[in-house]
């Protein structure tokens, strides 16, 4: 059976049904057993009528990155689609409206800009939508109908996906959408001479298990609920807002409390307060909010209070570009803040591991009584995958506090120096477990103490936690690890890791002896594993989505060798094609 590996982009203006058309396509393809990865981009303004693009990669095999260029561009809006043509492959397919409501002025039609070699199919989207439902709203569905007809996709399961999408709407809405789809399907079958090679004919994949079609933000919220989160405080900010939105609905149902604060400083303050009170607490923000929280993060570490911050990175600095993805908060998350401030930082590499990372973050924060930052980015927050339903965390992940025993209460030392740095923590209100807590340096009882020896011992204790934390995190992912030597090793983190892994697999097919390394744990970092990997590699490449190579700088200090860097700040997710190209040049 031949492989399917295709990227479809739907481009329109906000309000034209671009995103829902993308969503329906993803759902349908997932129901047919395909792997999907989709990613929407939309205007940066909070309210706007700008360009929206729904990007979906569909594959009959496992995929790790969204694909850089599109095989198909569906243009629901000519003006926006003209600029989107630059991401259509040289031999890509353009589906456009051949009978718009008003004639185009010269150069205002996307069809006029299709490059030689691209295949354009003009479909009367607007006319057919009117025919189906009396208005232009169904243009997106007409286009999906055309797509299904062109690619020999079975129409009835596709219409089922449309019905499911609009199941909660009135019957007339469902009918209009289905009819628009069928108009597009039938018209295309009758009128279009197909000259492209794409076809889903005779492709039947095994009936898929029940899958979740979900993005990183939704998974973070789901994981938090599954991991017994009981308090959330936050201030909305793109791209993290969705987490709060979901939790505002769901957390109270789980007996938890959600507090919208006046700003991010209050939010982290409240989270630390709840953590101090023994509750599992977290907040979610993005770069600018994280910057505001910085002072308080030191308190979590110093006073040894569990706190979890999800930081979904966007292009910065300052308010930057809210709806563009970047990995430029590595330094602020791993190294920022005041003093010697050991904090745990996790960076999931894909949607699925957003769940794992959130569960782990709440567990580690509670067990190690410290700050845990989870670094997502705009892409991970918003990109949609179809994944198996994650297994709920086992009980050990749900109750991780190491509590003092009765004997401890005879002379309770909340900050007792221990080998692994963890001092049994009494939750306020526990009889006999009273203690001082402060952001000032302190002694084992929590009383302010600025002595040379005291500060040294306490700093060592806080850092000692790092020794065991590493054993609790998933080991770094290393491909082809059974080999002894590689010409190129690609080291990556966060959302770039999927693209790096895919690039390495393609490189291996081209005969390049390469391997990839990525670690969810950024702080503490698995330095030994990194050094061992580096020792096997003749050359090292570090791709990341920031200008200054923040992680590359960090890794270079560990490896004490020079590395090749590949940096992008385009606002788009990392593309495996770019990494592969760089590998070929190395």
């Amino acid at each position: 059976m031949k492989d399917i590996n295709i990227v479809i982009e739907i481009c329109g203006s906000a309000g034209e049904g671009t995103i829902s058309a993308g969503e329906i396509t993803s759902r349908f393809m997932s129901s047919q057993g395909f792997e999907i990865m989709s990613f929407d981009s939309y205007p940066a303004e909070i309210r706007g009528f700008g360009k929206c693009v729904a990007h979906t990669r569909i594959s009959s095999r496992q995929i790790y990155s969204p694909g850089k260029l599109a095989d198909v561009l569906i243009a629901l809006n000519d003006k926006h689609a003209i600029s989107q043509l630059s991401t259509l492959k040289e031999n890509g397919i353009l589906i456009y409206d051949s009978q718009p409501a008003r004639p185009h002025k010269e150069d205002e039609s996307v069809a006029g800009w299709a490059k030689p070699g691209m295949i354009s199919y003009g479909i009367p989207l607007n006319m057919l939508a009117h025919k189906a439902s009396g208005n232009a709203r169904g243009m997106n569905m007409v286009a999906l109908g055309a797509l299904a007809a062109l690619f020999y996709v079975d129409k009835s399961p596709f219409t089922d996906s449309i019905k499911t999408r609009y199941a909660k709407k009135k019957q007339i809405v469902i009918d209009s959408n289905v009819n628009s789809f069928l108009e597009g399907y039938n018209w295309t079958k009758e009128n279009i001479k197909k000259i492209d090679p794409h076809s889903f004919k005779d492709i039947t994949l095994p009936k898929p298990k029940e899958k979740l079609i979900i993005n990183g933000n939704q998974l973070v919220a789901r994981a938090a609920l599954d991991a017994d989160l009981s308090f959330y405080a936050g201030y909305p900010i793109t791209p993290a807002t969705k987490i709060m939105e979901i939790l505002s609905r769901e957390l109270p149902k789980h007996g938890g409390v959600l507090l919208q604060t006046e700003d991010e400083i209050s939010a982290i303050g409240a989270v630390i307060g709840a953590g101090f009170g023994g509750k599992r607490a977290m907040t979610a923000t993005s770069g600018p909010g994280f910057a505001l929280m910085t002072e308080f993060t030191g308190l979590s570490v110093m006073a040894e209070v569990p706190a979890v911050i999800i930081n979904s990175q966007r292009a910065g600095p300052s308010t930057g570009i809210p709806t563009k993805t970047e990995q430029s908060d590595f330094n602020s998350a791993v190294l920022g803040g005041t003093g010697d401030c050991p904090r745990i930082v996790l960076a999931p590499a894909d949607t699925k591991s957003c769940y794992e990372a959130t569960v782990l973050a709440l567990y580690l924060a509670e067990k190690y009584q410290t700050l845990v930052v989870v670094l997502l980015d705009f892409f991970l927050s918003n990109s949609i995958r179809n994944i198996n339903i994650p297994e709920k965390p086992s009980s050990e992940y749900l109750d991780a506090n190491i509590a003092p025993d009765k004997n401890d209460f005879k002379d309770y030392q909340r900050y007792k120096i221990t080998k692994n740095g963890i001092s049994p923590r009494a939750i306020p209100g526990t009889p006999g477990g009273m203690f001082f807590s402060t952001g000032l340096e302190h002694d084992a009882y929590g009383r302010p103490n600025y002595s040379e020896a005291g500060h040294t011992a306490m700093t060592q204790k806080r850092f000692a936690k790092f020794n065991t934390v590493l054993t609790e995190a998933p080991a770094p992912e290393i491909s082809a690890n059974d080999r002894d030597e590689f010409d190129i090793g690609v080291i990556s983190w966060g959302s770039s890791a999927g693209a790096a892994h895919e690039a390495v697999m393609s490189a291996q097919k081209e005969g390049i002896n390469a391997s990839s390394f990525s670690s969810m744990m950024l702080s503490p970092f698995p330095e030994k594993a990194l050094i061992d990997f580096s020792d096997k590699c003749k050359k090292i490449l570090i791709p990341e989505l920031n200008f200054s190579g923040q992680f590359a700088g960090f890794a270079t200090r560990i490896l004490k060798r020079s590395v090749e860097r590949l940096n992008f700040i385009t606002g788009r997710p990392m593309a495996s094609e770019d990494i592969l190209q760089k590998m070929r040049e190395m």
């Binding site: 051949s98 069809a111 006029g112 295949i119 492209d196």
Partner: protein
């Protein structure tokens, strides 16, 4: 009006491309646009048969024509209508384009005769890349073919099928060679020479009906021959593509009528290549020209004249085309296999 002249050429074949290259050579500043209703860069039509047979790759089909510089090529965009008065072209997708001067080089497509109307739906025509992409796989999979007509393209296609070990029945019609008619002697000689291909040849007969039955086609002829085949292809000559010019005020017959300078009756509008019907002073009548070399020369001449020159068009060389052993004098057809004829 645009600041600089905007020369628009309808057609991305040899006539259109050589017109565009000549215009660019002579006028560095003008805006030049080529429009083609096909979604493919400039390609060799004569190599389509080799492409179908899998003998050449898509890259080898493309003409590597470096002289087309700084020219906007609008592919996959059909011209629907011309308004010479307002100097506007109306495209199928409802975009309007202003031009200052226009060259029509829209070529030709398969001729469908009125007698075919009863079964035209079942016929396949192969005159363009788009046709080929639509039928390539079907042709590769099919075993039995019925070809009828038998113009130059038809014979090329027949030989291709033969090289692919397909079973072909060919029905030769002397009119297929349109606009030239084969003589009775020629016809007989051709069919005799075709015998070496171990194929069934039908002459002096005509198709009566074609019906679709269980995925194949049943062809019946007037003389009672019945054939069950997988595909029926028609090669009955070519008709100029001129629908968009109808009603525009540009004089047309079956092609676009032009004088010896390739100028139409409308100032600033020229036509060349196989869409044009060119006035021939010697015979005091119009002739169509088919074939790659003529299209090339005509494109160049149309461009020069559009820029103010006064060149009379002449046919390219006197050639004898070998149609299955029969020498047919043409001035308009050449074997196109090498890159040098771009």
């Amino acid at each position: 009006m645009p600041e600089n002249d905007h020369y628009v050429i309808i057609g991305n074949g040899p006539a259109g491309n050589h017109a565009a290259a000549t215009l660019r050579q002579k006028d560095k500043d003008a805006k030049i646009t080529i429009i083609s209703d096909e979604c493919v860069p400039y390609y060799y039509k004569p190599r389509l048969t080799d492409f179908i047979a899998g003998e050449i790759a898509k890259e080898d089909l493309m003409v590597n024509f470096q002289d087309v510089k700084d020219i906007r090529i609008r592919c996959g965009q059909a011209v629907k209508r011309i308004d010479p008065d307002s100097k506007l072209l109306f495209l199928q997708h409802m975009e309007k384009i202003e031009f200052s001067k226009l060259i029509i080089a829209s070529g030709s497509r398969a001729r469908v005769l009125p007698t075919m109307s009863g079964y035209a739906d079942h016929l396949k025509f192969v005159t363009s890349y788009t046709d080929v992409m639509e039928y390539k796989e079907e042709i590769r999979k099919a075993e039995n073919f019925f070809i009828f007509g038998g113009d130059l393209v038809g014979f090329k296609f027949f030989k291709m099928l033969n090289s692919m070990d397909k079973t072909v029945t060919i029905m030769i019609d002397p009119d297929a060679f349109w606009p030239y008619r084969l003589t009775r002697d020629m016809l007989e000689q051709i069919s005799e020479n075709l015998l070496k291909f171990n194929t069934e040849i039908i002459v002096k007969d005509e198709v009566l009906s074609i019906d679709r039955q269980n995925g194949s086609y049943r062809v019946k002829t007037r003389k009672g021959i019945e054939k069950n085949v997988d595909m029926v292809l028609s090669f009955n000559g070519l008709n100029p593509n001129i629908e968009f010019a109808k009603g525009s005020g540009i004089d047309i017959d079956y092609g676009i009528l032009v004088d010896e300078y390739l100028k139409t009756n409308v100032d600033g509008i020229y036509a060349c290549g196989s869409c044009a019907q060119i006035y021939n002073q010697a015979i005091k009548s119009y002739t169509t020209s088919i074939g790659w070399p003529n299209a090339v020369v005509q494109g160049e001449v149309a461009a020069l004249n559009l820029l103010g020159d006064h060149k009379i068009i002449e046919s390219v060389g006197q050639k004898y085309f070998d149609l299955e052993g029969v020498k047919i004098k043409t001035t308009w057809w050449e074997d196109i296999n090498e890159d040098n004829d771009a």
